[in-house]
């Protein structure tokens, strides 16, 4: 399986009356895109905006972020199982618009008051201290704002948001379909150097089987009671793994963009054939409800890695709380199977950094990379412009929480209200060190 990712950098987005990519300028047909989004009766009042790095702009109601991609050859189409039929993806050529994203910003109140299923939305500042923290502040964004029709349950709301963002992302990338790409990167794992160690990525995914959407979509299907599963990284690049858009609007959950640009997959690919053989990705369900479940889930991931000949694995995760126990058990199970591990995780540590950085420890976890702390306070200044559906936002989604003016000064006690507020998988250069 060989995938060529053809990169079309975008330095400017213009809203107009046609789709065209030329000289790194993307023209989008505003009316056509709004009509595309408006095909869905679950969506109302759609609008388009462009956000530019450095502007005093705050985007509200962010549900997900997608990188525009379009397959020009190979089987299937991007976001299989979401936009089109379930066809294997990951080979051929896929065009991508780099330096820009599509942001889905939706007004939706949800039917669930608290808990893991509660809908969340995030903000993004394009300048100031919030921008310094988020990996998304340096890209241009085509923001699709809309309202979800009243009375819609969480799963329907998610489906509407995801369909809208994926359709828009694919449609605007399609503007490059006939063009010659300025840069192509090839991704192919078929050749292995027997002198190098075999390394895989174990990607723990908090999935809640009792939820309407478990949180991780595989070819559009929400992963529920799955045991560990092998995924070719090229499938991930083509959008075979997606998110629950009503719950991904928080800083320590990945967006679809993060899956498409998974930094650990990209880094393992960069080392492939040079210092290691990249053996692919194991998607592992974590947050089993019982200790027994956690042990089995961990052992199962380690067994799969061993069967695939892994000498070492990078282990990382999505989630919080007791899902970290599953992650640590997986570290232990791999080490006990003779597979060396390095864990990549964000940490807590409290406001002053004096508290425990993580919630669970095992002796075998002797190699951990820190991607920074979620718990650090941040003060955001007032912004000149607000894009997105909300003029008033709730900083925290608990019942009875007060809402505040989205435009004004915001005092955040943790960074998860900002999209990209926490680094999940080592995309950035942040870490915590001991002082």
């Amino acid at each position: 399986m060989k995938l060529e990712l053809a990169e079309f950098p975008v330095k400017n987005i213009r809203l107009g009356h046609r789709f065209e990519y030329q000289d790194e300028i993307l023209d989008v047909d505003e009316g056509a895109l709004l009509a595309l989004v408006g095909e869905d009766p679950r969506i109302a009042d759609a609008a388009l905006d462009v956000a530019v790095p450095g502007e005093r702009t705050r985007i509200t109601g962010i549900r997900d972020i997608v990188e525009p991609r379009y397959k020009v050859s190979g089987s299937g189409q991007v976001f299989p199982g979401v936009l089109g039929p379930v066809e294997n993806v990951g080979d051929g050529r896929t065009h991508r618009l780099s330096g820009m994203t599509v942001i889905a910003a939706a007004e939706y109140e949800g039917t669930i008051r608290a808990g893991t299923t509660v809908q969340r939305s995030a903000i993004l500042d394009m300048s100031g201290p919030g921008a310094e923290v988020s990996r998304f502040s340096t890209s241009r964004h085509l923001v699709v704002s809309f309202k979800i029709a009243a009375g819609l349950g969480e799963l329907d709301a998610h489906a509407a948001i995801q369909l809208a963002e994926c359709k828009v992302a694919r449609r605007i990338a399609q503007a490059t379909a006939e063009l010659t790409p300025p840069k192509i990167s090839a991704y192919d794992l078929s050749e292995k150097n027997p002198a190098l160690p075999n390394v895989m990525l174990v990607q723990g995914c908090i999935t809640d089987p009792q939820h309407v959407h478990s949180g991780v979509g595989y070819y559009g299907l929400s992963l529920r009671n799955s045991l560990s599963t092998f995924v070719h990284p090229n499938e991930v690049f083509d959008g075979a793994v997606t998110v629950d858009t009503t719950r991904s609007g928080r800083g320590y959950y990945p967006t679809t963009w993060d899956w498409q640009n998974h930094p650990l997959i990209l880094e393992l690919y960069a080392a492939h054939g040079k210092s290691l053989n990249f053996g692919g990705v194991i998607l592992q369900r974590i947050r089993f409800e019982t200790s027994h479940g956690k042990e089995v889930g961990a052992q199962n991931a380690a067994s799969l890695a061993r069967a695939m000949g892994a000498d070492g694995v990078l282990i990382t995760w999505i989630g919080g709380g007791n899902a970290f126990v599953d992650v640590m058990f997986t570290v232990r199970a791999c080490e006990h199977n003779g597979i060396r591990t390095t864990l990549v995780t964000y940490e807590h540590g409290g406001r002053e950094g004096k508290d425990s950085p993580v919630l669970f420890y095992i002796a075998e976890a002797d190699a951990i990379v820190s991607t920074g702390s979620l718990d650090k306070m941040i003060e955001l200044p007032a912004m000149d412009k607000v894009i997105g559906p909300y003029e008033q936002i709730k900083i925290l989604p608990f019942p009875g929480a007060a809402s505040v003016a989205a435009r004004g000064v915001l005092s955040l006690e943790s960074r998860d209200v900002m999209i990209g507020g926490a680094d999940l998988w080592g995309e950035t250069r942040f870490r915590c060190a001991e002082f």
């Binding site: 608290a114 808990g115 250069r429």
Partner: protein, 353 residues
């Protein structure tokens, strides 16, 4: 001109050895003894306005009084930075230096600096204090390293006095205090991860970025032989609270607990209670709050006579446990336990989620 204070023991103040270890706290104008060497290293930018001394034994035998006198002298001098030591391998002296730094940093909100050998018990105390304003530099075991220690103390003290940013312990050379802060490195987390894993596979040395901690074990209390005559209470981390969340709990990382009255209730009626918790699907709990606060079952046990009349505590204790910070949850556990003890509760039904 930057004003500094130097605190030393009787020996380094030049007042005598072990035979003078009982000397009370005293103040000498300007620099004296070892402080003279420090003054030379400071150059023209700073001056040591006074040297405070104490007898090694006096300090530990009259700690409260000694600290008060030292703090009074420091307060009067209004220094930019307090320097104590260096203490090398002297345990009594090292502990005193760290305690003085801790007290002055807290009471006067000034940066404090000391230095000693890594095995000095003072370093252990320094690490336990976790004081963001106190720094301790390493020295040699013996005073042969005095010149080097004073040079580094002077340099570090000037940086503190100027209000410069002090970086991570490993980069700056002070003993780390276990305070974790965000910094920006030269490589991404993904790059560092691949590099660390390859070193580990190739059996080369590597350094983890999050050291493991060893947590305390809490041995469970012995079981109650019978329940009938025992005072019992419900404690839960389920986050079940009266509908509307009157105490504004967050769905995660809460810092306080509450108790809610159930004295007159036979059961928790659906719609009057709700779960505020970010770590599980609360729909089922909201339908039936007894999953978190099993009052129905306990009332049934009362009716059967297995729990004595009036033995169930009239309120239940709650905090949403999701992502609880370990130190906060330890404090909350202690507070709830103290409250239970005060009311002579002997057994607790602990409902986690």
């Amino acid at each position: 001109m930057i004003k500094l204070i130097h605190v030393v023991n009787q020996f380094f103040a030049g007042l005598g050895g072990e035979e003078k270890a009982g000397l009370p706290v005293g103040v000498i104008e300007g620099s004296a003894g070892a402080a003279r060497g420090l003054a030379q290293k400071l150059g023209d930018e700073a001056v040591i306005t006074s040297t405070i001394y104490f007898g090694d034994n006096y300090f530990h035998e009259h700690k409260e009084e000694a600290l008060k006198k030292i703090l009074d002298a420091v307060r009067a001098a209004e220094p930019a930075v307090l320097i104590a030591g260096p203490a090398f391998n002297s345990g009594r002296y090292g502990l005193a230096c760290v305690e003085i730094c801790q007290a002055a940093a807290n009471a006067l909100a000034i940066p404090c600096l000391t230095a000693m050998q890594e095995e000095n018990p003072g370093v252990g105390a320094y690490r336990e204090f976790v004081n963001a304003r106190a720094y301790c530099l390493p020295t040699t075991e013996a005073t042969t390293g005095m010149n080097d220690a004073l040079t580094r103390l002077a340099h570090f003290a000037l940086r503190l006095a100027r209000g410069e940013d002090i970086g991570a312990a490993a980069d700056e050379g002070y003993f780390n205090r276990g305070i974790r802060r965000i910094e920006r490195t030269d490589r991404t987390g993904a790059q560092r991860a691949v590099e660390m894993l390859l070193k580990k596979i190739n059996q080369e040395p590597f350094e983890t970025e999050i050291p493991m901690e060893v947590w305390d074990d809490a041995p469970p209390a012995p079981p109650l032989a019978e329940l009938k005559n025992r005072n019992l209470a419900i404690v839960t981390t389920s986050g079940v609270v009266p509908w509307g969340n009157p105490d504004k709990f967050k769905t995660y990382r809460n810092t306080y607990w509450r108790k809610y009255n159930i004295a007159e209730l036979k059961e928790l009626e659906s719609g009057k209670w709700e779960a505020v918790h970010g770590g599980y699907n609360v729909a089922y709990m909201n339908q039936n709050p007894h999953y978190g606060v099993p009052l129905d079952a306990l009332r049934a046990l009362e009716a059967e006579g297995r729990i004595g009349p009036g033995k169930l505590y009239p309120a239940y204790y709650v905090i949403p446990g999701n992502q609880g910070s370990p130190t906060v949850m330890r404090r909350i556990g202690q507070e709830i336990a103290a409250d239970l003890k005060k009311d002579n509760v002997e057994g607790v039904l602990f409902v986690a989620t």
